[in-house]
């Protein structure tokens, strides 16, 4: 194989910038994720992580820059959540993955319903698949939670389980987990981390966004630090220990603070 050929990527962003009016949310973002790579995206509140996620999942377009998915350029103007889904990108949001008052079978298929020709839902089929995912993939058993249950009846961990199970069912090539362990019990965090390990074993890619450095360190192959709308560091896991990473981030934020005071 020729060395000049870059390794295949699941995602590549080139010079992506995003402005809301005159406010700059992201600039000079050059970011890539390998086909079977787990990237930990680290950054403080307001650093621009969510904006980045929303651009690459098609919720809103970037102001400028190029986006490649599976090494193919996508037109950012017409790129939408539906396009992202069809290109194999699934997102698990911290708190806005499920409609609280809606039944599980609706939550599994919202946005890409199985329908008859005129747009009427294939309810029985959706319920059957939702049931299979809940029992086999997520492992809901005899807890009184079924496909008819409302999302509001689920614990935080169960919700993430559903969102993750949904992502797995639709066979994503790249799964984005946005703060998936916030407000979860330790046992539930474990489940989420195990799931990320499964993504890696399954040959898929993942972007894992979290405040918890220990979690990110355990599962990620590479860490990308984002601050004030810019990528400020990228480190391979092999080149840094958890302690060093932690200290680096601390120093970094302190350094910024000091600079801010000057």
């Amino acid at each position: 194989m020729a060395e000049s050929n870059p390794a295949p990527t699941a995602l590549r962003m080139i010079d992506i910038a995003k402005y809301f009016g005159s406010v700059c949310a992201l600039k000079d973002i050059n970011f890539e994720v390998g086909r079977n790579e787990i990237v930990g995206l680290i950054g403080d509140n307001g650093a621009g992580k969510s904006t980045l996620v929303k651009i690459l999942t098609g919720v809103f377009p970037p102001t400028s820059g190029q986006l490649f998915i599976a090494d193919r350029r996508v037109d950012t103007g017409s790129y939408s959540v539906k396009t992202a889904h069809s290109l194999g990108i699934e997102t698990v949001y911290q708190d806005k993955s499920l409609g609280e008052k809606q039944a599980m079978w609706r939550n599994f298929f919202i946005g890409r319903e199985l329908t008859y020709p005129l747009g009427f839902l294939r309810v029985r089929e959706q319920k059957k698949i939702a049931h299979e995912i809940m029992v086999n993939t997520i492992g809901f058993r005899g807890r009184g939670i079924g496909v008819e249950s409302k999302a509001s009846k689920l614990s935080g961990g169960e919700r993430q389980g559903v969102a993750i199970g949904r992502a797995m069912h639709f066979e994503a090539d790249l799964i984005i987990l946005d703060e998936p362990t916030v407000a979860l019990s330790l046992k539930e965090v474990r489940k989420v981390l195990n799931f990320v390990h499964k993504i890696k074993e399954g040959g898929k890619a993942c972007i894992y966004i979290s405040h918890n450095i220990a979690d990110v360190y355990e599962i990620a192959d590479r860490f990308v630090v984002i601050d004030r709308g810019e990528i400020v560091a990228g480190v391979e896991k092999g080149k840094i220990s958890l302690k060093e990473l932690d200290e680096f981030l601390l120093e970094y934020s302190h350094g910024l603070k000091d600079r801010g005071r000057q």
């Binding site: 939408s80 959540v81 889904h85 806005k96 499920l98 609706r106 919202i110 329908t115 009427f120």
Partner: protein, 348 residues
């Protein structure tokens, strides 16, 4: 789960059952208190004649409230559509063009509402309040403030089809409105559009990140509501053979009350169309019923308030769990058990 509880569970899942029970109880009281009126068929035929326009309005409003929005402009559309139909009927001498144009006018008013709400982000209560004044004003202006008599409409096919009488007594509009309830039940509960509306009302941000076109759906929703309000206006105008510029006024609150009595929550995310159906007949029967019992017209509003409060409380007590939750609560009252099961909502 005991078998009895699961039977109640099945019953509880029958949409709108509690409201239907309230309606049945109400009629039982009326039959007891005013037997001469309520054992004959005439009073019911009269309800089937007066309630349908409001029921059609309530279908649309149920959708709007499910989406977490509100529409105050539908009474004005009732007037506008009546005018459009009447004017066309006088001009062309046939019913159909006016019928279609009236529906189109209603849809257009609704589309403008939707555009204001979805694209310009005007809160729906303000956009539709303004629309309500504007379109009433517009209608009064173009009608010159006058009512228009169209007695000859009785012999047109439009009249026969929509507000004719089956066997000389049964008003067809009752069937049309019931048909629309059933049709729109399927749209809300078994169609992509209805599901989008529920998710938007539940949490628009979730809907957006899951790939639903939130703005487009909102515009479609208000357009639909405008067209439904226009149809309600047509039923009303055809039934009474007269257009008057203030028609529809006074329907806002009863229709809204029916939607809430039916169990649709103001919080959005869930719509109970079958509840709306029974709720509309409760509201539509109260006035005549209370008067017929002979306790006097002054009581009407007081009783309406009581029935509405009772229905809404019943819906909250029963909540998501259905009737089995009610049975649970009842059993707990009957025999307080020490087991630390979860709180029934209506208990204590």
């Amino acid at each position: 789960m005991s078998r009895r509880a699961s039977l109640l569970g099945v019953l509880g899942r029958l949409e709108g059952l509690p409201v239907a029970v309230v309606l049945a109880l109400l009629y039982a009281v009326f039959i007891f208190a005013a037997p001469t009126v309520f054992t004959g068929y005439r009073i019911y035929m009269s309800f089937f004649q007066t309630v349908p326009p409001m029921l059609v309005l309530a279908i649309g409003l149920t959708f709007v409230i499910t989406a977490g929005e509100i529409d105050l402009s539908f009474p004005a559309v009732v007037a506008l559509s009546g005018f459009v139909f009447t004017w066309c009927f006088q001009t062309f001498g046939v019913g159909w063009p006016g019928f279609l144009l009236a529906l189109l006018a209603g849809a257009l008013v609704g589309w403008v509402n939707g555009f204001l709400v979805a694209r310009l982000r005007v809160p729906s209560i303000m956009a539709t309040l303004a629309a309500q004044f504007f379109w009433y004003g517009f209608t009064i202006l173009v009608a010159g403030g006058l009512q228009i008599d169209i007695a000859s409409v009785i012999s047109t096919p439009v009249h026969t089809i929509f507000v004719g009488r089956v066997f000389q007594v049964f008003p067809l509009q009752a069937l049309w409105s019931l048909g629309l309830v059933i049709f729109f039940w399927f749209i809300l509960n078994r169609h992509r559009f209805g599901q989008a509306i529920m998710f938007i009302g539940d949490n628009a941000e979730v809907a957006r990140v899951m790939g639903i076109g939130v703005e487009a759906t909102r515009i479609r929703l208000f357009t639909l509501n405008g067209a439904l309000a226009a149809f309600a206006g047509l039923l009303l105008t055809l039934e009474i053979n007269v257009f008057y510029p203030t028609q529809g006024q006074g329907m806002l609150l009863p229709v809204m009350a029916a939607v809430f009595i039916g169990g649709t929550s103001i919080a959005g995310g869930q719509g109970v169309l079958m509840g709306t159906l029974f709720g509309m007949y409760i509201i539509g029967s109260l006035e005549a019923g209370v008067v017929a019992t002979g306790i006097g017209g002054y009581w009407v509003q007081l009783v309406e308030g009581l029935v509405m409060a009772a229905s809404v409380i019943l819906n909250i007590v029963i909540g998501d769990e259905g009737l089995s939750a009610l049975a649970w609560t009842a059993r707990r009252w009957a025999a307080p058990s020490p087991s630390p099961e979860k709180e029934g909502r209506g208990g204590g």
